[in-house]
Symmetry: C2
Subunit: 264 residues, 2 copies
Amino acid sequence: MIILKLGGSVITRKEATEPTLEPVNLDRIAREIARAKPDKLIIIHGAGSFGHLHARKYEIGSPIHTKGELQEKRMGFALTQNSVKDLNHSVCHYLLEYGIPALAVPPSSFIITHNKRIKSANLEIIEKYLEMGLVPVLHGDVVPDTQKSIQMAVVSGDQLVNYLSLQLKPERIILGSDVDGIYDRDPKKHTHAQLLEVVKSLEDLQFLEGAQTVDVTGGMAGKLKELLELAGKGIESELINAGCEGLLERTLKGEKVRGTLISK
Amino acid sequence: MIILKLGGSVITRKEATEPTLEPVNLDRIAREIARAKPDKLIIIHGAGSFGHLHARKYEIGSPIHTKGELQEKRMGFALTQNSVKDLNHSVCHYLLEYGIPALAVPPSSFIITHNKRIKSANLEIIEKYLEMGLVPVLHGDVVPDTQKSIQMAVVSGDQLVNYLSLQLKPERIILGSDVDGIYDRDPKKHTHAQLLEVVKSLEDLQFLEGAQTVDVTGGMAGKLKELLELAGKGIESELINAGCEGLLERTLKGEKVRGTLISK
């Protein structure tokens, strides 16, 4: 079984001022998955501009002090969920177009967090879908939180990758974003930045200050932390550029492609 | 807490040859709910033409004999779910427009049936949403089934009403469809058919042969059976015409309106 994460940066225009799809990428990615025909597959996609704009506006996950704040955040929660569902609907649409039996499984209908970390999630239905040959599609979402002061939280695609991987023990985890992988320093600032073939700890990197991008789900450092935690438990993951034609298809087929392996 | 069922016949054009919304009704219904401001509310809507057309075409719920059949039905399952999700997205959209914090909770992400009856469903998240003041919106859907010969099933809005009512013990169950309630015989055939104020058993009705409409979820007889089962356990339900302006708002506010009470 493969868990494939599609970054919000590659399927949406992440810096747009309103939720905006990246339909060319999405169409190509769906085609590449269909061509590679992986046996058992779970897809988890980020929320990109469909999630961050709302989650940030309504500050989902920050403490609620008054009844008025709760009322506003409650509506914000519903609007955020509705917006990421919009994106998910488009993702499923493209997958179905290419004959992939994609099935939306929104975290907001079965995941509860405590202090922003997944506390309970019944994965029985996801296992059932895999057994049936269907492709469950999850996504970054908003969920209820049992921490009374916040009541609601954002669960990122990366946290989902972490949680599902620990529970379901996939053979491979592939993370497709809009960059080639992890560099030893910020490639936008340093012309001599080198792509790292393997990353084993945060200390392998000198660039971390540059990776603290404004991303409610934690930026690259947050992503890496989730993946290193997995690697520490013996579950490797592969970062590739899904914005680059053909790479996803080739890696799904088992070919070695340009990218970074997160390993112990 | 109120469980409100909106029949597929009132929010979609049920007899259309492709999935077709009934936007005027949907808009008005959302407005009426917003005006009535019920304290705690769960909405369950039927799938109407968004579900039946696909479910019938792919015969979801009928035995699977060959690998080819499984493959076809698997794709049909995904397409059906995608279509009802489409409808649900519209329902949520109208509710949000009127300031109702509607939250989609699709059965296909947390319900498993055995031989077409709900076997397991964790309702913790629905209770959590009610507590937070959100309005969970469920709908007729396709779900995995543990009966090996069928593997997948349709779960109707009516079965959901039954299951959720038994588990969550709502104060009221209101079912809005496109008819005034239950008649003693088919009103389309008999000019003297009488609207029954109360129905206590299937024997109260003489019209049942006419109610066996072609509806994969069981037609009126199926609906009544679910409701009489509830009534037998002391949980009453009210049938009203949600296609008639103002009735839903008035009944949500606690006024007595034209309709049928299903009682013990």
